[in-house]
Structures are given as C-alpha cells and as structure tokens.
Amino acid sequence: MLFPTVDFAIFFVVVFAIAWTIRPYHLWWRVFLVAASWFFYGFWEPAFVLLLVGSTAANWAIGHDLSRMKDVEGRLNTPGRALLAFGVALNLATLGYFKYYGFFAEEINDLFGLVGAGEVIPLRQITLPVAISFFTFHAISYLVDIARNDIEEPMSPLDFSLYLSFFPHLVAGPIVRVTEFAPQIREPLGERLVLAVPAFQLIVFGLFKKVVISSYLANEIADPVFAAPGQYGSLEILVGVYAYAIQIFADFSGYTDIAIGCALLLGVKFPQNFDQPYRAFSLQDFWRRWHMTLSRWLRDYLYIPLGGNRGTKAFIYRNLALTMIFGGLWHGAALTFVAWGAIHGFGLVIERELRERYEGRLGRFAVVWQWLITFHVVCLAWIFFRAETFGTAWEMLWRVLTAWDGAGALSPLLLIVIAGSIAAQFLPDRLSGSLRISFSRLAPAAQAATLAVALVAIDILRPGGRLALHLLPVLR
C-alpha cells in the first residue's frame, strides 16, 4: 500500500498500537514488525512477498557464511571473495532480470537488426516488483559490510528480515545502513518514549509536498510540456522544467519524509534523505543534499571499490563519471537516465577542475552565479531524466532557445507555487525548530485538532483523480 491512503492510515494506527504494547517482549516485537511489513508489501501483489522472503533467505545465508570465511587478520579468504562476488552478482542479476530485461532485449535486438538478424532475444514484458531496487541495495550493503568487518557479527535471521523488509523504508528508502539499524532494534526497552513532534512534522509536510505540490505541478504544466513540447513556447518550457525540478523533489522527498516520520513513531531513527537540495552552490553540494542515502551508498559501495580518490586525476574522474552513470541507470532502464547520470558525472569533473583553478579568486557576487549555474545544470539533467526520448529532450532544449512566443499556459498561481517552493529551500532550520517547539507546547487535544485540520486541508487541496499520485520511476 502507498503512504497517502486511508488504507495505510488504518494499517499504521493498528501497527503503532500493537508494536508499542508488545515492545517489552523484544522477540515478539520484531516478529510482529516483520509480519506487518510482509502484509504491507503483499498488499500490492501477494506473490512478490515470495521474492522478498527468497532474497532475505539467500542474502542471510550468504552473509552468515561470509562471516566465517576470513583469515587471521579478518580479511576475506579466496573462497570468501568468490562468495561475496557471487552474492553481489546474484542480487544484481535478480534486479537486472526484473528491471532491465526489456531494455537490454530491445537494445541488443536493435544492434543485431543492423546486420539483418531478426529478434535475437524474445521481447517480453516483465512485471517489476515494487521496492526491488531498494531491497537489493540494502542486501548488497549488508554483504559488503560483513566482508569489510563494518559489522562485527552477522545479524540473526529475524533481525535481517526486519532490516530488509521494515515497511517504512521498504518501498522508496531511505537506504538505511545495518550499523544504523541494528543497534536500534537490539536496544532493550527503557521507557516507551517517542519523538512524536518531529515525526508529525515530517509526515504532515511530506504529505503536503507529495499530494498537493507535486501532483499540482505535474498536472498543471510538467506533464503536458514534457509530452508535447512542440505546443509550448520558450518561457512555458522553461517554467515546465523548473516545475518538474520542484515536482520530483516534492514527490520524492515528501515520500521519504513520511517514511522517516513513520519509522520515528515506531522508535527507529532513519538518516535524513534530503536537505534543501536546490540551495546548493555546486553540484558536489547538491549531491550532499539530494537523496543523501543513495549518494553515500554509491560512494561507499561503488565509488570507493572502483578506486575512489586514490590515483591519478584521470582515474578519479573516471570513477566519478562511472559512479554517476551507474546511478543514472539504477533510476530507470533507459539511455536517457544514463544521460542524466553522465551530465552529473561530467559536471562534477568540470567543477573540480574549475575549483582548482579559481578557488579563492572569485568576486563577491560569485555565489549568485554559482547558485544559478548549479540549479540550471541540475535542471538540464532533469530534462533528460523526465523526457521519454532523446528527441523530446533535444526538442525542448531547442525550443527554449528559439520558440519566443506564448505564455498562455502560465497562471499566476503556478508561478507563485514554483517561486515559493524554491524560496522555501532557503528557509533557515531554526524556523522548523521553533515550529516544533510551539507545537509540542500545545495540549494533546489541540495537537490532535491541528493535525486533523492539516490532513483534511491536504485532502481538499489534492488535485482530482487518485492516479494523479505520481509514482516515481525509482519506486519500481
């Protein structure tokens, strides 16, 4: 089930009440959370639960064996390294089959088509199980952490099941590390204390971003502009791209904020996933603020194994570019996603070069330019991320520069929402802190009433049509 639904609200209240009631019975508490997570996942398609359980069993067994295949210094021995490679490959192969089969089949057939061969690989549409991109990454990090001795001992089957399938992070992250997660579920209960106010804040604002802002911008301008750019002028396309930048931020950060809030209510603290990314003054800064748990996953399990920062400049640049390109492909099975990753990868490389040359020699107003350029490079990359084909992407870029007519699709409300959303990226943290403090001083009844009014207001402002809840490509 999805977070912004009545089904989930009912599910969550029941889970919350039971989980805190049985919290002192540590074993049953974990058993219950695993069962609840599987129920949550099975709500989409019961058969997928088998995949989740299968992945859990296989990865736990591999992890268990890996932890015993080490030499005296704690490094993996040769069979251990082979098993690790097998485990990672198994995860990637499963993800690859479900997510990339169609992509590779089409590309390979096209290639063979050039030399006159027919359909070499049969074209079949494979249903992609929800959440597979995320539990695959969780599983890989677990195996690598064991190999690197980042985890002292492997998790019990029960704990590992909970780690992989814990429903708040199951579908769309954040990508939580074992070292963050395990201590929290091993913790014996002190008092039943909940960080409720920050959790409420995350959930309510997350819902608002996802259900109201993201859906409004998608329906109003982003979807139509990306579907038929030929119908729109320069200014409309530009605003459509800005709108998409806000839409994807509101959609994705909204969803993970709800996830973080729900976990917090159940007593588990997740890492932050978005930190006002559009206030970044460089691409490097952007990636410290955008989907932060994915960035660090890519850094720790791809960039560093590739060689990371150790080596010649060319070697480092190669690693940066490869990491971003792979990150692009993870978001979706199409070459446009590779282009998105490549723009960020090469952008980061160019940025490093420029920084080396001009660091400390910039004028007072350079920050304004840095912000503008960073935001527009990010937007340029979003065009390739969202466009269905390269043709559409090029058409949009061409029309932004040449089609100087028409602004009929732009309403004052639309411009206000976009400008307001960008301005909100610059709000100081203390503002939300003081909001929390004021809320926490309210009597419980007043808190309940405030939350209720917020929920109903979000429901009223929700654009019509339930399918308008835009699912990100990464949900799949």
Partner: protein, 330 residues
C-alpha cells in the same frame, strides 16, 4: 533511540510517552474523520457496487450522519464549493441538449469544415485514464501541422457507469456549448466502466454485460453522443483496445459493440476501433506490437491496461487519420 549518542539539542523535551502519542494520532484521525466523513462516504459510494463498497459505506455512514448533524461537514463543503470540487449524486442524468442543430436531418456533404492556419480546427480530447497518455500523444501529433488546436482534459478513474465520481454529463454539456465552440470532440470511455450500474429509477444491474446493464449503458452512450451533436461538429468515439486480462478484454469488447452500434446510427459520430491495432499476429494481447514502420515496440504499461508513449502515438495517429479524412485535410 541510538545508544551512546547524547540526545541532540533539538530533541530535548520532545520525547513523549507512546500512549499519549497514540491518543494524539487516534484523536487526529477521529477529528479528521468527522470533518471529512461526508467526502469519505461519497468516495465509498463511488466504489464498484459489491461487498467492499457496502462495508465501507456502512463504516462511514454513521460518522457522516454525526458530522452532518453537528455541521462539522460544513468547512469541507465550503472549501469544495469554493474550489469547484466534488461530484454529484449517483444518478446519470442527461441534461437537455442545448447545442444548435438544423431542422433538416439530412447529413451535410462534409461533417466538419476544412481548417486553415488562420482558423485551425478546435479539438477537445478527453475521457478516462486511457486518455492520459493517448491524449498527450494526440496533442503532439495533431499540434505539429498548425491546422489543429487540441485541448486535452482527461479525468482519471472516471467513466460513464458512475457519475458520482466524476459527472461527465454535466461536464460534457458545459463543453458542448463553450465559446469559441469546439469543432471536434474526441472521447474515450470504458476502462473503468465494467462495474455495477444504477438506473435513474434506482434499479441496480450488478453484472456488466447483462441485458439490463447493456440497456442502461447504451442509454448513456447514446445520450452523450446526442449531447455533443451540433452543426458542423464531428464526434470521434474511441473504442477500447484489447487488455491483458481476458475478463477485462471481454468487457471491453462488449462495450465496444455498444459504441459501434450507437455510432453507426448517428451520422455525426465516427467510431475508431483501436482493437486491431494492439493485437499480435494471433489476435491476442501483446505488450510489444509491430508498429506502422514494421519495428516492434513496447506499447503497453506493465499494468496490462494503459498505453506507454509508443502505444499512445499509434492510437493517436489512427484518430488523427479519421479527423483528417472528415475535414478533407491531405
């Protein structure tokens, strides 16, 4: 709680006992429920007829009654009214047609005028969720020539069986008389229509495809076709394509039959049959279909119902071909 870590400053004093949190959450949802009960009841009533609907209606009804008697439903009602939101009852009422029709019933030589760059044909295209991607494709395909001026307004989850979710008769009646008027209407319904239907007299036909169901559905389809009629206006009725599920495919074929028959008796309506465009060489559903240029492309969404861009493009080209032929555009 993470062990060993001192409590961050911003969290001091914010920890609350779980029982109290449960009270706040439950209280919030209860108040929200009272404020929103009429809407929840309305949405439950708009679900397909059957046990699930009855259960949800049964759950929300007492809350809605309490909410109304305490006037707690008023804020939401005012807000919906101010934003022009919300549906109407579950009776499908066809408003009297207001458009002008010549007294002579003979069909003109040309249904719709030939457009020029100065006066492009104004085309309204809409319908249910199938029309989301298809309509986007149509806007793109049609917009390029400068001879067509398309307006795309799909309503997700809508259809003709359940006006309580989205009142198409009211909306189409409004669109039919909008100025400057539309020269062409392209409509597509049916993907959400395979469910129980209620006659204006309250008779319920639970099973789609039964004689009573078809009669009521036919009345609605015919009514919408008549509603859109106007001199010099073409109505393009788009049929549903084959679906991955056999049951759904059978329902679509049954409804296509109704559309086809009703269109046949109305000279101003053209039925566009998408079915043959999306079956493979064996006549079955296939997500991959050989396109006009011979290349096999992915046409359908993983849900086995909706189009992806290529499928939308293929359907849009078929629709545009019919409009071009009627308007005598080369």
């Amino acid at each position: 709680m993470v062990a060993m870590e001192p409590e961050p400053v911003e969290e001091q004093g914010l920890r609350v006992r779980a029982g109290r949190v449960l009270a706040v959450i439950a209280g919030a949802l209860f108040i929200a429920l009272l404020l929103n009960a009429s809407e929840l009841e309305r949405e439950a009533k708009a679900k397909p007829l059957g046990t699930e609907r009855d259960v949800w209606v049964g759950i929300w009804k007492p809350f809605a009654t309490v909410s109304r008697s305490l006037y707690l439903d008023r804020p939401r009602a005012w807000a919906d009214h101010a934003l022009d939101r919300g549906g109407t009852g579950d009776v499908f009422e066809l408003p009297p047609a207001t458009a002008t029709v010549a007294a002579t019933p003979t069909a003109p030589a040309q249904l719709v005028r030939t457009p020029s760059a100065e006066e492009p044909l104004r085309i309204w295209i809409g319908g249910d969720s199938m029309m989301k991607v298809l309509g986007e494709s149509f806007v793109r395909e049609a917009g390029g020539s400068g001879l067509f001026d398309p307006v795309h307004e799909p309503q997700l989850e809508s259809g003709l069986t359940r006006p309580d979710f989205f009142d198409w008769p009211r909306e189409l009646n409004r669109l039919a008389s909008v100025q400057p008027r539309y020269d062409v209407f392209v409509v597509m319904f049916g993907a959400n229509d395979a469910q129980g239907i209620i006659e204006p007299n309250g008779t319920i036909h639970q099973v789609e495809g039964s004689a009573g169901w078809v009669a009521e559905y036919r009345r609605r389809v015919a009514g919408v076709m008549d509603l859109l009629r106007a001199d010099g206006r073409l109505v393009v009725w788009v049929g549903q394509p084959v679906m991955r599920s056999d049951g759904l495919s059978d329902d679509m074929a049954m409804m296509n039959q109704v559309y086809r028959e009703e269109a046949a008796s109305r000279p101003w309506v053209r039925f566009v049959d998408l079915w043959p465009l999306f079956v493979d060489s064996e006549g079955d559903y296939n997500a991959y279909i050989a396109d006009d240029d011979g290349e096999t492309r992915l046409m359908r969404n993983p849900d086995g119902v909706h189009f992806v861009r290529e499928g939308g493009d293929r359907a849009a080209r078929a629709i545009l071909k019919v409009i071009r032929a009627e308007a005598k555009v080369d």
